[in-house]
Amino acid sequence: MKRKEILTAFVLAVFSIVVLSSFILSVDAPVIKGYHIGSEVADINLLNVDNKMVSFSDFKDAKGFIVIFTCNTCPFAVASEDRINALDAEFKTKGYPVIAINPNDPSVQPDDTFVLMQQKAKEKDFTFPYLYDESHKVYAEFGAAKTPHVYLVQKENGKKIVKYIGAIDDNVRNASSVKERFLANAIYELLAGKEITLKETKAIGCSVKV
């Protein structure tokens, strides 16, 4: 009887260790969630560098949006700044304004504070809203993994639908060596009422710091 009790205790202990350790050791990366091609995008309401709140619904005449997750510091984001201004200049008048969003937590990445975002926007003459995702909810909803990370959104029957995800073009480091403008091509295809040929692309970027 006593032996049986010890055995039971041992089995229980081993069992509890196995169960507990499975919790302790479950450190596998979470499956990437967020919007895919065809997903409906929820509206946002984030603070812009001009201290005003910005939502997609503010842009009544827009056909869609170029949503770019970017930040002050990542060298790939910095290398894209002039291109983002150029995209806004090229596509705002065509109905697709740029909406830039900084997803980084300044307590993790000290150079990404709201004040430094304001400085960056001023220095680089950003022509587009540069929004602060302070609660880090918007980047998670989108599933943005890095900066820069682009989502092209199109208004369709009152909904906002994701049409393209990925890079601005095929050379993040050097604008003058770009051969293919992935994002611009996608917008021109939308404008022509065509199906987008290349819906998703990849580029190196800095992981979102939260």
Partner: protein, 182 residues
């Protein structure tokens, strides 16, 4: 009986905590003890395009390769570099080899990357990947990769695992052991 379970449970947790402290102390010791100081001129970092690198991502021998994609400007990458260095040292006898693939801008190689490697006395093999058309090669490394760094590939001739995340020593060791065990 409850006491017995409790006691065993406590022992388990305690041993866990001890292991952690021990490995932490070991880590500190290793980084200060080992290696002779390197000068910039002693550091050789080959610059590769993806076709060159691809050969290093598909070697078919008895070694388990740990390929870490990083850059000197990537904070979480720098933070986890000592983990890869320590694994490279600790697992040398078990045919585990670390390859650090830098994604630094090629024009930063001389003034940023090489001094960094020399200063930190990095002993793992380092290569610089200079291939701007990332959209073509990122999916070849792994279809799971968004392109964010740090990212790490573990492979040998039978297994292949990809992680878009940072690692602690314990976490990386666990992944290594799960492959070595097979």
């Amino acid at each position: 009986m409850i006491k017995v379970i409790f006691a065993i449970g406590m022992l388990f947790f305690q041993s866990c905590a001890e292991n952690r402290t021990e490995s932490f102390q070991k880590e500190n010791a290793t980084s200060s003890e080992i290696k002779i100081a390197k000068t910039n001129s002693a550091v050789r970092i080959p610059t590769l395009n993806y076709n060159d690198l691809e050969l290093l991502l598909h070697k078919k021998n008895d070694t388990l390769y740990i390929v870490n994609f990083w850059a000197t400007w990537c904070k979480p990458c720098i933070k986890e570099l000592p983990v890869f260095e320590k694994i490279n040292t600790d697992y040398k006898s078990e045919k585990v080899k670390v390859l650090l693939v830098s994604l630094d801008f090629p024009e930063q190689k001389e003034k940023q990357l090489i001094p960094f490697i020399a200063k930190r006395k990095i002993n793992s093999e380092v290569v610089l990947l200079d291939d701007p058309d990332a959209n073509s090669w990122i999916p070849k490394v792994s279809t799971k990769w968004s392109g964010a760094i740090p990212a790490t590939l573990l492979y040998n001739k039978t297994d292949r695992k990809f992680y878009e995340r940072s690692f602690t020593y314990e976490e990386l060791e666990k992944e290594i052991k799960s492959i070595l065990k097979k």
